[in-house]
Amino acid sequence: MNLPPVIFAQGLTKRFHSFIAVDHLNLTINKGEVIGFIGPNGAGKSTTIRMLCSLLRPSEGQAFVAGFDVARQPEAVRAHIGYMSQKFSLYGDLTVRENLRFFGGIYHVPRRDMAERMAFAISMAGLQRREDTLVRTLAGGWKQRLALGCAILHRPPVLFLDEPTSGVEPEARRHFWDLIHELAEGGVTTLVSTHYMDEAEYCNRIALIDRGKLIALASPRELRSLELGGELYEISCTPLGSALKILSEAPGVVEAAIFGDKLHVVLGSGGLGAADLPHFLGEQGVHADSAHPVMPSLEDVFVQLVSSDREARVIA
C-alpha cells in the first residue's frame, strides 16, 4: 500500500518579523494516524496547525493537506479539514442544535444527511435532551465534544485539534480521546496538540516540537527505547542529594535525575550494572536499596530530548 501522505510538510517556516515561530519543519503523516503534537507553550504548535489549515501563510517551505497546497489552494484545504481552535469557538449565544445547524450549513452538508449527522454529533457529545440549551451554559467537557461534533459534521478526512482538552476534567479528556480513536478507525487522520504528557500515550506517533523545531517524530514505544540511550532504573537512597551527585559522575551512567523521593538512573553499556549500584553508593556513605528497572514515562523522554537538543543547538 503506497498511499500519498495525508499531511506533508517540507521546510515549513513561519516568521513573525524577526521571531521564528516555526523553523523548517518536516512532517509526513499517513491516513488514519493519530499524531500527538507535543511541546512547551510557545513551541510553535498552534502556528504549525494554523499554517496547515491555511489560516496563516507560510513564510517559507511547502505543505500539502489532503493533497492540496496550503498556500495556493486554501479553499480546497478548508473543505477537507475539520479544525478546533485553541480558544473555544462555538457560538455561546446559540443552542446546541443551532450551532450544529449553522456549521452544517457552512460546510454544506447535504440536507438529507443533516438529521442523521446532527443526531450523531449530539449522541457523540452526550448532549441528548440538551439540544436546546445555550452552549455557553454547558460544562467544559461537553463544549469540547460539541466543538468536535461541529468540526466533523462534513466528514473531513483530516482533523486538526489545537489543545482540545485544555481545561477539561480528566474523565472528560479520556472520553474525548476515545472519540478521536473511533474517528481514526474510520480512516480520519488527526493531528492533536496537547500539553498533557499523559495524552501522548494515546497517539500512534508523537511529534515533539521545541522552539519551532521538530525534535522527534516517532511512536511512544520507539521514543522510550531509542532516545534514552540506555535502560532506566529506579533506586531509593538517602541522602538523595549526594546520591545524585555521585551517580551523575559515575562510569556508565547516562543520566541521573530526582524523581519524587527516588532517583531515576539511565545506565548505558560498559559501566556500572544495576546490581552494582547499592554497593557503589554504600562505599561512598549513601544508603541505597536495590535498583529495579522501570518503564520510562514519556515525560522522562521529552525532558531528555528537549535538553539534549537545546545543548546541541548551543554547541552548533
Binding site: 501563510r57 473543505a79 455561546g92 454544506h108
Partner: protein, 378 residues
C-alpha cells in the same frame, strides 16, 4: 456564492442580534429615542416672543401699534413698563426678548409730519432668534403702516391704493405653513438611519473576533463575499424596519406632509441603507473589538452627519471648501432626497443628482467592503 451558506450565516446572525440586548437596543430603542428627541427638540420656529411694551403716550395710535404686534401672533406681551430704566432689568432677567418703546409725542409727530418713529430693542445674545424676531417686528410695523395709511386716506377722501403702490403677496410653496418641522423631520430620519445603521454592522465582525469564533469561521470553506452578504442581510431587514418606523412617525406622528410615492421612498432608502450598513461593516472588519468599532462608527457618522448633512444647517450657506467637503457626507444626499419626496413629491427622475451621489457611494463602499475581509489570521 452559495445560497445555503448565505442562509446559514444570515440566520445565525439574526439569532445573535435577537439574543444580544445591546444590538437589540441599538436596533429598536435608539431610533425611537432619537426620533422623539430630535423630532421634538429641534425646531427653528420662534413663536410667542416675550415682548415688553413701554407706551409713553397711551393714545389710540400708539395702542394700534401695540395691537398690530400682538395680533401678528408672533409676540406675547410679558411686561408693560412705566419707566425707561426698568427695561435693562427686565432684559437682564430674561422676562422679555424684545421691547417696543413708543415716545410721548408719537401721534402728534405723526399728525404733523406724516411720519414718526418708535424704538424696538432686542436681546441679541441669540442671533438667530433676534433675526427672526426682527423680521416679525417689521411685519407687524408694515401691518400697522397699512392701517394708518388707510385711516389717513379715509380722512382725506383719497383711495388707499394710491398710497400703497407696491404690495408683495408672498406664496410659500411645498411648506405652506412655513413650519420648520416639515423641513427638519425628514432630515432627522436620515440622521437616525445613518447613526443606527453603522452602529449595528460595526459590531458584526468585531463580535466574532472578540468571542474567538472568527478563527473557526474562517477555517471553513465559506467565502469572504458570503460572510459579507450573510452578515449584512439581517441588518438590511432591521434597517428597513427602522426606516419604516421613522418614516411612519414623520407622517403619522409629526404630520409632515407626504406627497411623493412609497416606491421612490423605498428604492432610495434601500440605496442609503447599503451605504450606511457597508460603512459599519468596513469599520468592523478593521477594528477587532466591539467597543472600539462602535466608537469609531459613532465618530465617523455622528459629526459629519449632524453638521454637514444639511439637516439643520443649510449647506448652501457654508463656505465653499466646507460645501465641497459635504459632497463626501453621504447623508446629505438622503436628506435632500427625503425632503424632496416628502414635501415636493419628487420622483426618481427628479432626484437624479442626489441619487447619483448615493449610487457612487454605494458602489465604492460595497467594493471596499468586499475586498476588506480576508480569511487569514496574518
Amino acid at each position: 456564492m452559495n445560497v445555503r451558506r448565505l442562509y446559514a450565516l444570515a440566520f445565525k446572525e439574526t439569532l445573535q442580534v435577537w439574543r444580544d440586548p445591546r444590538s437589540l437596543a441599538i436596533a429598536l430603542l435608539m431610533p425611537l429615542m432619537q426620533m422623539g428627541m430630535l423630532g421634538y427638540g429641534v425646531s427653528l420656529d420662534i413663536k410667542h416672543v416675550p415682548l415688553c411694551v413701554f407706551d409713553q403716550e397711551h393714545s389710540q395710535a400708539s395702542r394700534s401699534i401695540v395691537d398690530s404686534f400682538v395680533s401678528s401672533g408672533w409676540f406675547l406681551i410679558s411686561r408693560t413698563l412705566d419707566r425707561q430704566p426698568d427695561l435693562r432689568n427686565v432684559m437682564d432677567r430674561g422676562d422679555c426678548n424684545a421691547a417696543i418703546i413708543i415716545p410721548a409725542n408719537f401721534s402728534r409727530t405723526l399728525a404733523a409730519t406724516g411720519t414718526a418713529s418708535i424704538q424696538a430693542v432686542f436681546d441679541a445674545t441669540d442671533v438667530n432668534t433676534t433675526n427672526i424676531a426682527m423680521g416679525y417686528a417689521q411685519g407687524a410695523i408694515a401691518q400697522a403702516n397699512a392701517e394708518l395709511d388707510a385711516q389717513w386716506a379715509a380722512s382725506h377722501g383719497v383711495l388707499p391704493y394710491l398710497v400703497n403702490q407696491v404690495d408683495l403677496e408672498p406664496s410659500t410653496w411645498f411648506n405652506e405653513t412655513l413650519d420648520s418641522r416639515n423641513f427638519i423631520i425628514p432630515g432627522v430620519v436620515a440622521v437616525i438611519l445613518a447613526l443606527v445603521g453603522a452602529q449595528l454592522t460595526s459590531l458584526t465582525i468585531s463580535r466574532e473576533w472578540e468571542r474567538g469564533t472568527m478563527e473557526q469561521l474562517i477555517s471553513t470553506p465559506v467565502t469572504a463575499l458570503e460572510v459579507m452578504l450573510g452578515k449584512l442581510i439581517p441588518y438590511f431587514v432591521v434597517g428597513l424596519i427602522d426606516a419604516g418606523f421613522c418614516l411612519a412617525a414623520a407622517v403619522f406622528w409629526f404630520h409632515v406632509p407626504f406627497r411623493g410615492n412609497v416606491v421612490t421612498l423605498f428604492v432610495t432608502s434601500l440605496l442609503f441603507l447599503i451605504v450606511v450598513l457597508g460603512i459599519g461593516y468596513l469599520i468592523s472588519v478593521h477594528i477587532r473589538s466591539q467597543l472600539g468599532a462602535s466608537q469609531i462608527a459613532l465618530l465617523v457618522t455622528m459629526l459629519p452627519t449632524t453638521l454637514l448633512s444639511g439637516y439643520t444647517f443649510p449647506i448652501d450657506q457654508m463656505p465653499a471648501p466646507i460645501q465641497a467637503l459635504s459632497l463626501a457626507v453621504y447623508p446629505r444626499y438622503y436628506v435632500s432626497i427625503l425632503r424632496a419626496i416628502f414635501l415636493k413629491g419628487s420622483n426618481l427622475a427628479d432626484l437624479w443628482i442626489p441619487l447619483l451621489g448615493l449610487s457612487v457611494y454605494a458602489i465604492v463602499i460595497i467594493w471596499l467592503a468586499a475586498r476588506a475581509f480576508h480569511k487569514r489570521l496574518d
